[in-house]
């Protein structure tokens, strides 16, 4: 026994007694969580009791588990942590698409599943919500494919397991999976005594020195350098450090669509959106900044086909790649260096760079055509949405025409675009707007989604309005899927789906909220409707606008992208 150590230990007050569920909730609240999404089920009621007992956590009962997962996803993007509670089998499997999406898009969502009591599992009879037989591990094995860490909680190890799994979620910015048997949730354990451990270990000083020396030499020899920002910069909370680096070197900064709004677009260093296959016409400034730079520094970039159509032309051999947990120059990986550290190293390095190509040498932004009259088209629609935007807005756009249209907007300062272009699951945006509204109650939320996408999660409109949330909702109504039609064939029949009367839906799913629902078919009608929505925002009365669009129209960026995605070898 090491008495020496115990003599050195300062006095620590004994933590209070809580329960397994209480310990988990305390850690989640510590990480910034204030709303828990989910659906009640017979195996998670003990967890819900523990939530109901906490004044600092609100239970947001959703119509569907998938909706709960999507809401927790957007909530986590804005608050750094999100959580949903489902029940064994039937509940958790309905959330799997949302959890996989959180993995693909790098979002720290904690999936908490109430499972049958240990006593019930041990009897071995067939139980509802399970497959026939005694194997209760099917769903945990499925969850392990789409989460970064997992634990099935037991009273004697629950605190350390909860800390391990939540630390992984925060460090990796990936979803995790925790199961709590019904007879374990309420078992007493000590409450957390210290803070949740978060950081990975420091990088080896020799590795840091090697990276620093190599980066300095490369930048010192370069005539120009640029930054390309991906979504992992925001997910790992280093967007301020990205800006510091840009300012330190007066570097042009281009962003990928999934990082839209993560660098201020009013900043003179902003070079625009790097997106779409070559030669995507409206982003020449960004293309020159990225592809013609002597050195390109990428920060948290994932190159995916839905962003660049598979035809990106990043300079090979002149790249400094900053990723979570590692950096890379010319194919040499420098392990253990987080983006916060690597960005700071580069900020110091660029200060000693020689004078280089001025930002003014970049091509100017090309303004989108200002189409404002006549029947509504994607051209005139996005011009009107541009007029609506205000600083700080949260624009939530579903995959498809909505996201690629929104990605082409100019975002006012502090405004952000949230979308799901990597996982690309239609229907994400409506529950995501709910999650965003709760995560950032002081910001205005504008939800834009196609009618097919809205149908997939339409029930959560009732949940959202029932919670008293009143984002501006714009449904792009065209009764078909322009992406599939463009990729495959223009009119195959199976791309069509039943037309809904969107103006009648709010009164059906939220009769108590007296929503305003308007159908518009011309650019002027849309301007009028959005004006009304703008002045009504904050009154608590929601506005839904059904914008009727031509069946095969699509935003310019999407037209380019689908041409690339339709290539025969894909």
């Amino acid at each position: 026994m090491n008495t020496h150590t115990s003599q050195d230990t300062p006095f620590i007050p004994a933590p209070w007694i809580t329960t397994v569920a209480g310990y988990l909730l305390t850690r989640l609240a510590e990480a910034g969580l204030a709303s828990v999404f989910g659906v009640p089920g017979d195996d998670n009621l003990g967890i819900l009791d523990a939530i109901a007992d906490r004044p600092d956590l609100a239970w947001i009962g959703m119509a569907t588990e998938q909706g709960a997962g999507y809401a927790a996803d957007s909530y986590a993007r804005l608050r750094g942590i999100g959580a949903l509670v489902t029940t064994f089998g039937v509940g958790e499997l309905s959330a799997l698409n949302a959890i996989a999406g959180a993995y693909a898009e790098s979002v720290p969502v904690v999936h908490i599943v109430g499972t049958p009591a240990l006593a019930a599992i041990q009897t071995g009879t067939t139980r509802h919500h399970n497959l026939p037989g005694r194997d209760y591990g099917h769903f945990a094995r499925m969850a392990a494919e789409v989460t970064a860490a997992q634990a099935d909680l037991r009273p004697d190890t629950a605190p350390e397991e909860i800390d391990r799994v939540l630390s992984t979620a925060l460090r990796t910015s990936r979803p995790v999976y925790l199961t709590i048997p019904a007879d374990v949730a309420g078992i007493p354990v000590l409450a957390p005594a210290g803070r949740l451990p978060r950081a990975a270990g420091d990088a080896d000083p020799a590795v840091v020195a090697a990276f620093t020396g190599r980066a300095r030499r490369m930048l010192a020899a370069a005539a120009s350098a640029s930054l390309l920002v991906g979504h992992l910069a925001s997910r790992h909370r280093v967007t301020a450090q990205v800006r510091d680096l840009a300012i330190a070197g007066d570097l042009p900064v281009a962003v990928l669509p999934e990082a839209k709004g993560d660098f201020p677009e009013s900043d003179p260093r902003f070079a625009g959106l790097y997106a779409g296959p070559d030669p995507y016409p409206s982003a020449k400034r960004a293309r020159v900044a990225v592809e013609d730079a002597d050195v390109l520094i990428t920060v948290g970039v994932t190159l995916a086909d839905t962003i660049l159509g598979g035809a990106h032309q990043l300079p090979e051999g002149r790249r400094i790649v900053l990723d979570p947990g590692q950096a890379c120059i010319d194919g040499i990986v420098y392990p253990g260096i987080g983006m916060r550290q690597s960005l700071a190293i580069l900020a110091a390095a660029v200060r000693s760079m020689p004078p280089r190509a001025a930002l003014a040498d970049l091509p100017p932004f090309e303004a989108a055509p200002d189409v404002r009259g006549g029947q509504l088209t994607h051209g005139s629609l996005w011009a009107r949405v541009q007029d609506l935007l205000r600083p700080g807005d949260l624009l939530i756009a579903d995959q498809g025409t909505a996201f690629y249209g929104a990605a082409g907007l100019t975002l006012p300062d502090g405004a952000q675009l949230l979308g799901q272009p990597l996982w690309a699951s239609t229907g994400w945006a409506l529950p995501a707007a709910l999650g965003a509204s709760l995560a950032a109650p002081d910001r205005r939320v504008v939800l834009i989604a196609g009618d097919g996408a809205m149908q997939q999660t339409a029930a959560e409109l009732g949940t959202m309005l029932g919670q008293g949330l009143a984002p501006i909702v714009i449904v792009l109504s065209n009764g078909g899927d322009p992406i599939e039609q463009a990729i495959h064939r223009a009119s195959a029949g199976y791309d069509e789906f039943p037309a809904w009367d969107w103006t009648a839906l709010p009164a059906a799913v939220a009769p108590a909220s007296s929503p305003v629902a308007l159908r518009v078919e011309t650019s002027r009608e849309l301007a009028w409707a959005l004006n009304r929505a703008h002045y009504q925002a904050g009154t608590g009365r929601p506005v839904l606008v059904e914008a009727v669009l031509p069946a095969s129209d699509a935003p310019l960026m999407l037209q380019e992208l689908t041409r690339a995605l339709a290539a025969p070898d894909r």
Copy 2:
């Protein structure tokens, strides 16, 4: 080379050339499939093209993949095979709950997933709808947990792999999983030359002889014998053989709720529903038949907690257990004997039984109290639904108050109850009603579901009405979950969810179908509404009835069951 064999082979005309997708569809049509459910996605369009090219297959585009899975489930229960098509990742994961449900409930659903082209997978870049990295196997490994067979199709092995997987689905009555890369669907292969192999091998004659001898001695010594029928009798298509056995021995027949309607309730041998924990009061006749029998023959029975509350009292040591693929007497398993064979053996054996307790010795059926006046309650609701039922009706009831209320009804000849009491996923019934309507277009479909369950899949009401289907829809509207309230605590807040105006929903999701939607609050109003629905059936104009019920009321069987499920060790 064996020239001898080729000389013996008769002339077989060469089969025509089809494609990989075409081969699969030909086999599905051969098995009885006429409707394919699903959602288009960028990786399954080649499969949808192949469906569109076939006049014998209808594509039913659903709002959600979960809805497609549920529809395929009920379709398969009625037709012996069901299928859905989804797309890689985002699509297939949204269907996983439905597929797991098909496994738990033993339903042969074929899940067909369009995946990225082999060429795209081999490039190794991050692709949308996948997790980061080069591993394209995450979702197939997940699917393997909830399906009985799987194959990732390649042109050179596709025919044999399709045959292997579909044969497994039909033989085991379980879901299976087939992935077709986008560049494989259209590759030419030979069309099927013969019939799809279905049967398992015959049982060992010595095993059959041993089983026959043992069963004969047991029955010869018995003063009485009874039958208890579970859902696997219907799934493995032996309900006619069950009836043959009952007639051969003049045996009383009790059914579990999941086999409700699988034995004619007007047959004098019908002993009623064996359900609920002891002493469930309204099933004394069934209880005596099952528990007091000298020999109990169970056919395709799975003992699950949601059926019997964990408190069944089947006679031990006097049971002949007939299951798919095996029989069992006193714990001794006789492998390889299918139910069709074992039922035939027993039918021969019971003919030589001594005279035994007459059916007339069983207690009479106890009539449910005939409550018809005043505000609507579960008592009066089910009395009115009973009046509505006609021979041949398909009653689709969601898990919860709907299923346990429906299980207490007396079914007219040929009427069936479809529910999901083993997997117990709320929201199943609405898409299941759609699937049932297409599987059995000549039968009247009555859908009954609680409001919380209906919210989960409400979008498919638009799909159903958009297809021109017009079942009678009854929504049990009480704004809460009586099961969770009864299991756990009466009013915990988290069991409540937003109230919808159900009478306004049909016009929002199916404006073209001019649906009739009525809200009723008294027994007389319900009678009037159901009368209207009855006379309107067949006009193609759908009727939705919102039946307003007290918040904590529940059918009698459910009240008994929830008392058992709330026991502390569960």
